[in-house]
Symmetry: C2
Subunit: 250 residues, 2 copies
DNA sequence: AATATGATTCGGCATTATCGAATAATGCTC
DNA sequence: GAGCATTATTCGATAATGCCGAATCATATT
């Protein structure tokens, strides 16, 4: 791990949490002397990864990170394969669809298909949700044993609502169920009033690379078997397109 | 400029251009020995900025850059102010609307309002267009003299189509026109069949921070005065919301 | 099985980044 | 509007750090 590169990424991550920070705030947060931080930040600014507000002197993320993010989406094979099937799933079930991949202890949404009923919704691509509080996360974690152990080895499971699973034993038990079926469920665990059903997606090496989920208002929960089937079919189809030999794989 | 941080960003930029690269390809591109690149890449991988394909060993951008890009959009005041007015502009003119900010010698799209006629379109947020080949770019450059000089000091203006302005004299002349009116025009210069009208957006310090544009099929070009007026009004309104004292400022 | 290609590890060396101290810039207070 | 406080930035000596040649390991190819 090379020190200054590691520090530069931690600076970006700090700015990601706090939007705008003065140099000394960043320095304090990372427990580094201001001149050290300054050197790194200057380099980031030179590349547009960070911009400095002319008036306040504070720093924030810059446009170059947006370009990187956009290119990332373009390179993702999972995304290009999933888009058409996500649309199909949305049409069939009438619910919004999300496709996500793991990012440390979170899931990051790489595609979002709004509810077909035309409800005006926020675009959700790029947002992150704790793995333990989402069906998407559980669907992936069940087939990524290392990641699951790592998460459970941490201090504690992050709680988002009163319904979030925070007990490690209960969590492991749920993962066992997911491993058997390839499907994960969640009711009010991330956001109150929002539940979801997710299916794991595997790639050509039969490893879990992501998950696809429908987002259901809790008022319409639980969903019928046909809807669950549609999620299963979508996850299986996308996996097959990526070259997976069986579903669920693992 | 800190060497290793600079190199790490150049690695990310290389991956941005070539999607997937082997370690030695990256090393060759940056003219560095493979072990040097390896150390940096390892650090990037540890943070999810880059991922390594299990089978081929090749590297590509990772999900962490997407999160950064998403947070960048959230922090941008220009974007939050512009969305509602972009929607209004789209409704009034019937054309797709783009909002962009400068990024080195390009414009990067930070908001895209699709044509209201419901035509299924690619989401364009995050794509970049050369400043000299777009109305958005000209609208910004006219009020950023340093950036314009820097661009013209370069080897030559990038040509995208046969219509792209590549003559420095002609380009300067166009910028003079933009400076007088606050509006920039472009016909087939970036993409054949696509033309646009852009207005400069200024912030509370009366500096150009971005531009808003409508995208017009060349078959409907030129547009009528009312449409041009609508772009002017939108650019002026957004600038005022950001605290600009007059329009065009500069 | 042998070879070639490319990824990764190791470690000594010199470049390089680090950080204390000083300076400049900015904003606040009275 | 002067003086003070806060914060950003520059400079440079120091030694810590990352760099990269050589060796090793893993994988693909013939």
């Amino acid at each position: 791990m090379i020190q200054s590169v590691d520090r530069s990424i931690r600076i970006l991550t700090a700015l990601q949490g706090a939007r705008r920070m003065s140099l000394s705030e960043i320095a304090e947060r990372l427990e580094l002397p201001p001149p050290t931080v300054h050197g790194i930040v200057r380099t980031l600014v030179a590349h547009g990864m960070v911009v400095q507000d002319h008036t306040s002197g504070r720093y924030q993320l810059g446009p170059a990170v947006l370009r990187l993010g956009n290119v990332y989406l373009d390179t993702l094979e999972l995304r290009s394969r999933a888009v058409t099937w996500a649309e199909e799933l949305g049409r069939r079930t009438g619910f919004a669809v999300r496709v996500g991949v793991p990012l440390a202890e979170d899931v990051i949404i790489i595609h979002h298909e709004p509810r077909p009923d035309g409800t005006r919704q926020m675009p959700e691509v790029g947002i992150v949700i704790p793995t333990n509080a989402s069906a998407l996360g559980k669907a992936m974690l069940a087939f990524l044993p290392d990641a699951a152990d790592q998460l459970l080895a941490g201090p504690s499971l992050r709680s988002m609502t009163g319904e979030t699973i925070t007990d490690p034993g209960e969590f492991r038990k749920q993962l066992d169920d997911v491993r058997a079926s390839g499907l994960a469920f969640e009711c009010d665990e991330a956001v109150l009033g929002e539940s979801s059903v997710a299916g794991t997606v595997f790639d050509g090496t039969d490893l879990a690379v992501g998950a696809v989920a429908i987002v259901v208002p809790t008022s319409e929960w639980p969903v019928d078997d046909g809807t669950v089937d549609a999620v299963r079919t979508t996850a299986r189809t996308v996996s097959r397109e990526l070259g997976a030999s069986r579903w669920p794989a693992g």
